[in-house]
Every structure is written in C-alpha cells, then in structure tokens.
C-alpha cells in the first residue's frame, strides 16, 4: 500500500466516524457533514500530496529539452507562481490567446520542455491507476494562490470576448436532455438528489464559494481533481459529447466562472465529497 492509499483509508475511516457520530442528529445534511469533516482535517487536505508532486515536477528537468518549468510565465512574469492562479484565465501576448491555468501549463510544457501537446492532452486527468503530471502541476500552482483575492481581468478585448462567449456556453442548451450548465446552476437553494447546487449565474456568494474551492481532493474518488476535470464531468452529466482538453470553449467557460468569483479569496485546493 502506498502513502496515497494509506492516507485514503485513514480518511475514509475518519469520514465514517464523523458520519455515524452525526447520524444521531436528524436534521444534519450531507453538506453539514462534509463541512464538519473539512473542519476535522483542516490541518491536512490530501490534495497536499498532489501539490508536493506538482512542485517536484515543476522543479525537475524533463522532456526532450531537459528543462524545468521554472521559467514558465503564468502571467506575472517568468517563474512567478505566487498569486498567479487568482488572475487566470488571462490574455497572453505570446500565444495571442486567453488561457486558463491548464492550457497555459500545456504551452510551457511544450515550449520549454519540448513535450508533445497531443500526448499531454491525451491523458490530462488523474486516474486511480496513474497520476497526471499536468493535473499535479495545476494543484501545485493553485496552492500558491491560497488566500489571494480573485482578480480576473476582462480589460483586454479578447478576455472580454472570452467572458461573453463563456456566458453563452453556460446557457447553451443541447443534447438528448436539453440541458445547459444553467439547468442546474442558475437557481439558488436547489439540490440534485442530496447534492446542493451552487447558483453560478446570479448568486455571487455561491459562485465564489464554488470556484475558489476547485481544484479539489474528491474523497469519493481518492483523487485530486483539476478544474478542467470539473468541467469535463459536468458536460458528461449534461449528456454532452466530450469537451476537448484546454479548448477555447472550456477556457471561455472558465473565464465566465472565474470572473463571477472575483473579490473572494482563493481557498483551494479544496476538499469535496
């Protein structure tokens, strides 16, 4: 059993204990239990293991160019990681594109390290069998913005356009169920089965709380999940086809969501059921 697995077992035991202790209180919701669980392990989120893995990857020479990512420009200058995530997505002059964290990491891994984009994009998410480098790198970078106020700018016309397109994607109904993001995420105080749903359209507090706690460690999956993964799995449940990793559509949607979280302190990587 590796450390990840040991850790998972300990967590599951802790969660079980927490749930049964609370079962006596009739009106305790799942959300309350998870909040209590978060409190209980606030000294150590298992996402920290992924942050450490990502930091190691960031600082280790790799790829055909045997280069590290320490010169990667995440928007605040080459090598500046602190606070970078709180300003993403943003417009980048060198690529002439609006990029979220993961599409920007893709740029750095290809341009600095000489890795192939399609190879990284083919396996962008962690699974129980295999970790994902780009996902761990993302966990590391977001951790360096903990406590920093979200300040995503739409001053650049392309960033403004991404925001506008993202808003339209949020409302775009299609597929066999006619679902859009907004079907579940545009009303306050509703839930699907027992899962509370944040209103990302018109409830600033909901939008901030949701956005600032991703990426997150998912207890039910035993994995740290990136924001691109979050969107990917939403579209799966929306009965949509699969969004391409780090595509313009996903970056635009992320821009819309990130801007609606502006003003709140970034609080990830988070911890979810």
């Amino acid at each position: 059993m590796n450390t990840g697995n040991v850790n998972k077992v300990i967590l599951m035991l802790a969660l079980t204990a927490s749930c049964s202790a609370q079962a006596a209180e009739n009106e305790t919701t799942d959300s309350d239990r998870i909040a209590a669980y978060r409190e209980m392990i606030s000294d150590g989120n298992p996402a920290e293991f992924d942050e450490m893995r990502g930091e190691e990857l960031w600082k280790t020479a790799a790829g055909p160019n045997q280069a590290t990512l320490e010169k990667c420009d995440l928007g605040k200058g080459p090598g500046v990681v602190k606070g970078a995530y709180a300003e993403l997505p943003r417009y980048f002059k060198d690529t002439a594109k609006v990029q979220d964290l993961e599409s920007r990491l893709l740029t750095c891994m290809t341009s600095l390290q000489g890795l192939k984009e399609d190879e990284i994009a083919a396996k962008p998410f962690a699974s129980n069998k295999k970790a994902s480098d780009i996902s761990s790198l993302a966990t590391y970078v977001v951790g360096q913005s903990k406590g920093v106020k979200m300040a995503v700018s739409t001053k650049h016309p392309k960033a403004k356009e991404a925001y506008e397109i993202g808003k339209r994607i949020f409302n775009y109904r299609a597929g066999p169920y006619d679902f859009a993001c907004s079907t579940c995420h545009a009303t306050s105080g509703v839930r699907i089965r027992m899962q509370d749903l944040p209103n990302m359209r018109s409830n600033k507090k909901d939008a901030q709380a949701a956005y600032t706690t991703w990426p997150a460690y998912r207890v039910s999956q035993g994995l740290t999940r990136s924001f691109q993964w979050r969107l990917n799995d939403c579209f799966r449940q929306q009965r949509f086809p699969e969004p391409k990793f780090a595509s313009e559509a996903t970056v635009a949607l992320t821009t819309f969501l990130a801007v609606s979280a502006n003003g709140a302190k970034y609080d990830g990587p988070g911890l979810k059921r």
């Binding site: 597929g175 509703v190 009965r239 949509f240 086809p241 559509a249």
Partner: protein, 204 residues
C-alpha cells in the same frame, strides 16, 4: 503616427465594435462555431449532440425567457409532435415506475449503448414519502394523484407532460422523455401509474 500604430487603432476599434451589445448576434455565432469545433465523440455521446433544434436554440438565445409569441409557437409545435398511446391507455405498473424514477442513469458517455436510461425523476422531484434523497430543481410531486384524482384527463396530462414537458412550457428544465426517445411508451405509462395509481407510494 506610423502605419503600424494606425493599423493597431483600426484593429482595436473594429474589435471593440464586435463586442457591443448590438453585436450580440455575432457573439452567438462565434459561440456556436466554437462549440461545434471543441466537442468530440466519446462513447455513445456523439459530437453532433451539440447541434441544437429550434427550441433549444431559442431557449439558449433568450436565456429561457422566450418572447410570448415565439414561446406559444414552440409549445404548439411540441404538442403536435406528441405520440399518444395507440390503445388510448395511459396507466402502466407503478412498481416498474418507481424503479425507473429511482434510476438517474442513461445517455452519458460513460453509459453503454445497451444500458437502459432511467427516468431521473428523484434527481429533481420529491415523489414517494419514503424516499428522502430527492432533488428540488422541480416541484414536489408527493400526493400527485391524491390531490388531482385519477381521472382520464389527469392521466393524459401526466403522460403528455412526461412525453414532452416543453409542450406545456417551452423552456422547462425537464427533459422531453418521449420526444427525444429517452423512455418508451410503456415506460412513460409506468411513470404515469407511479404518479396516479392510488396504490402508488406517491399517494400514500
């Protein structure tokens, strides 16, 4: 001012114009273009699923607040396309209906082609008092039959509403279970029975 600066100014001016509210149509077009390009087949979820029918396009464009005239036109079209049961019977087996109502599976890229779709009912509605894990996106349907009575008119209404909720409210959140081929006629009848049969837990 050199030629490069002038060029930059023209570009900036034309770009600014492109995102004025009056140009929303071009943003709509660009969004559609991006969506068509950036989604791909996965499992049973084919890329063509992003292509909208007239109703989906209208509800997206007007953010579920379609102008009244268009709304009525869309609803009439949806109603016209409802396939009513050939035998004139609307009620099936409420027990099969309860099973269907519990299942939230179906039609995602992780579902297999042979996996039958569920009704997804409890995802959004309260139904039986016994099931406490119900969603609240849709209204509570507890005691649906008890309060309305099990008349043929009510049965037909429930059947139509499940077959195509958009015939009653163009931009309803609820999927069009019959219209989109998610559930069969027999399955919809089972759900009607779940709602209206006096023996169903919904009416206990």
């Amino acid at each position: 001012m050199n030629a490069k600066q002038i060029f930059k100014m023209i570009m900036a001016a034309s770009f600014a114009a492109a995102i004025l509210p009056a140009q929303a149509a071009s943003l709509d077009a660009k969004t559609a273009e991006i969506i068509k390009r950036d989604f791909r087949d996965k499992g049973i979820a084919k890329a063509t699923r992003v292509n909208q029918d007239e109703l989906q396009a209208a509800c997206s464009k007007y953010v579920d607040n379609v102008p009244a005239k268009l709304k009525h036109k869309l609803e009439a079209e949806q109603e016209k396309a409802v396939k009513w049961p050939a035998d004139g019977k609307y009620m099936g087996d409420w027990k099969a209906g309860e099973k269907l109502a519990q299942s939230g599976r179906g039609m995602t890229w992780s579902d297999k082609p042979e996996d039958p779709a569920g009704g997804n009912c409890y995802n959004c509605h309260q139904l039986s008092a016994k099931e406490i894990a119900y969603g609240t996106i849709g209204p509570s349907l507890l005691h649906f039959g008890k309060t309305r009575g099990n008349t043929e008119e009510t049965q037909r209404y429930a059947y139509g509403r499940i077959y195509n909720a958009k015939a009653y409210n163009a931009c309803a959140n609820m999927p069009r279970f019959g219209h989109m081929g998610i559930l069969t006629e027999a399955q919809i009848k089972d759900l009607v029975a779940l709602l209206l049969d006096p023996e169903s837990p919904v009416n206990k």
